[in-house]
């Protein structure tokens, strides 16, 4: 993967954003490895805090991430029924480290969500650990570091960031 370019990583992240914006969540889930984590720490924690000893907003292992997707596809997931419209911009993509079979990537995200005539903005930095094999890239870890002051006024993270 020494040869993996930033453009290839960007294509992967842009594709992820598109799947989320189109609510193709079961397909989005296949981007993750079986040992994957998806985490959103509280904004008063250091960026590398552990979800085992600190309170987060979200700390999903692969099983709970699957439950999250299942839930969000139901009409009884009231917070997202009818689905919000979302628009994600992913930028400032950087490959931060390369290892044997994975790379560390950081990017900036800005996600707009509109529901019932109200638009919220979620923004911050995402840190990815991406597994690399012959098949391409998969997400082993996605940590979204919200840059806002808590979750105000956006209120809740009912979508996937």
């Amino acid at each position: 993967m020494q040869s993996l370019s930033r453009t290839e990583v960007e294509d992967f992240l842009f594709n992820e954003a598109e799947l989320l914006d189109q609510w193709r969540l079961p397909e989005w889930l296949t981007l993750f490895t079986d040992d994957a984590k998806y985490e959103v720490p509280c904004t008063d924690l250091p960026a590398d805090a552990s979800s085992e000893s600190n309170l987060f907003y979200i700390a999903d292992d692969r099983v709970r991430l699957g439950e999250r997707v299942k839930r969000l596809m139901k009409r009884t997931a009231h917070a997202e029924f009818p689905h919000s419209k979302t628009s994600r911009i992913v930028g400032n993509v950087r490959i931060q480290a390369r290892r044997e079979d994975e790379i560390d990537v950081s990017c900036v995200f800005q996600t707009l969500r509109t529901k019932d005539g109200v638009t919220d903005l979620y923004f911050g930095t995402s840190r990815y650990r991406l597994a690399v094999d012959g098949e391409g890239l998969r997400i082993r870890e996605k940590r979204c570091l919200l840059a806002g002051d808590g979750l105000r006024p956006s209120g809740r993270i009912s979508i996937v960031l």
Partner: protein
């Protein structure tokens, strides 16, 4: 306030009618009156002693619209100071939290100790002798500041009853919650700070509403059903709602989820079982079988008037919230945990917390949606006047999914809002 309005509550015990005017959730006059009659005259939660472990530790927090500097002074004593310079008013401390020997107002450079006392100011010689000794030269303490079992409360009413009297029946439930360990409890690092575009009283109601769970949280129970064997028996364990006096209320009930206090579920494995068994045995030794069972196996959603919720459920949560506008509130929530908890149990506690609770969980976002849609429903409040919270009214013992708890809140709210019938808006009309 306008006297031609309808009453805030409509109560007729004989007919089992308890109705709440929807105007209470939207009217700017009500909102303004609440600031004065509720938030200026109640004990309000400030924070937990464990958040300030060392002398010099401080946190700035907003309580009922006021900036408060919560400190532990050099002698180890907790202080609640109004975060405003006695000189010209600037907020003295502008950081969220930290540790400091003193605080300097950046405007004119006055320096205060962690006890709020003026230490020095530039150009001291221009001030009269003894200026530093005047009370008015110091940062002002919040009028009242008292602590119960490491829960720190403030009040802006210097004549309010002592905290322990105010807590009334809620005190005993706080004891049950705090008695799960002898080692004391601490707030886990990480604050959930969120908001809901709805009236604050809707969250009060929601926090003690056992009736909405099955429908609002259907997706959570789907997940619970697939991950626990005993769901059918668990919720059937049922429970009761209690009016604890002074507007406080609680529901106490059995539930199928694992409780790191001492209720094991198969998902936690055999290693987890031996640890939970040990915790349970310790509880029995310390408190006897009956109280141990209550501590370990019963869940409590405890509401302390007007805006503190302590949920002792699949995790232990402390949540407080404040109105910013009639249709907008800010919420702060924390996880509380025993100091002597193992890393294993702490992990499951937090895991439990996030699965259900908080703005990224599988339940709280649906609550927020419900509350926001109530607020939208209240757009019709001039035509559709009333909410009905009469469920279970007149029963000898209210079930946990009855609405006694909400009636307890509203009765106190009404009492504080409209102490004398002649003051404008009428209170209870039979």
């Amino acid at each position: 306030m306008n006297a031609q309005h309808q009453p805030a509550l409509l109560v007729d015990p004989a007919q089992r009618i308890f109705k709440v005017a929807r105007r209470n959730f939207v009217d700017p006059d009500i909102f303004r009156a609440e600031k004065e009659m509720i938030f200026d005259r109640s004990w309000l939660y400030l924070g937990h002693s464990s958040e300030l472990p060392k002398p010099g530790d401080f946190i700035t927090r907003k309580v009922a619209g006021r900036g408060v500097l919560f400190t532990r002074d050099s002698k180890g004593q907790l202080r609640a100071l109004l975060n405003t310079c006695p000189h010209r008013g600037a907020q003295v401390c502008r950081e969220r939290k930290g540790n400091a020997k003193s605080f300097q107002c950046f405007y004119h450079g006055w320096v205060f100790g962690a006890d709020g006392k003026l230490r020095s100011q530039p150009g001291e010689a221009s001030y009269p002798e003894g200026f530093k000794g005047r009370d008015t030269s110091n940062m002002q303490p919040v009028p009242r500041f008292e602590t119960y079992r490491d829960f720190n409360f403030i009040s802006f009413d210097s004549n309010i009853v002592p905290l322990v009297d105010y807590l009334a029946g809620a005190k005993e439930f706080l004891d049950v919650i705090c008695d799960q360990t002898d080692a004391g409890m601490s707030i886990v690092a990480g604050s959930q700070e969120y908001s809901i575009r709805a009236n604050w009283k809707l969250l009060t109601e929601n926090s003690i509403d056992g009736y909405h769970a099955a429908t609002t949280h259907a997706t959570y129970f789907d997940i619970l059903m697939s991950s626990t064997d005993n769901l059918a028996g668990g919720m059937g364990g049922g429970g009761y709602g209690y009016d604890l006096g002074n507007g406080h209320a609680v529901l106490e009930y059995g539930a199928p989820w694992g409780r790191p206090v001492a209720q094991w579920i198969p998902g936690w494995g055999e290693a987890g079982k031996s640890e939970i068994d040990q915790l349970y045995d310790n509880l029995v030794k310390r408190h006897g079988q009956e109280r141990a069972d209550r501590i370990a196996r019963k869940n409590r959603n405890l509401f302390i008037f007007p805006n503190l919720v302590v949920n002792d459920i699949m995790a232990l949560t402390v949540r407080t919230y404040f109105p910013v506008a009639p249709d907008y509130m800010v919420i702060n929530a924390w996880a509380l945990a025993p100091n002597d908890e193992s890393a294993w149990a702490r992990k499951y506690r937090l895991n439990n917390f996030l699965e259900f609770l908080g703005p990224g969980g599988f339940a709280t976002p649906d609550d927020a949606e419900a509350l926001e849609h109530c607020q939208r429903g209240f757009e019709n409040s001039k035509e559709a006047l009333w909410n009905d919270i009469s469920k279970g009214m007149g029963k000898d013992k209210a079930h946990h999914d009855d609405e006694l708890q909400m009636r307890a809140f509203w009765t106190q709210w009404n009492k504080q809002m409209f102490p004398a019938p002649a003051s404008g808006i009428k209170g209870v009309a039979a």
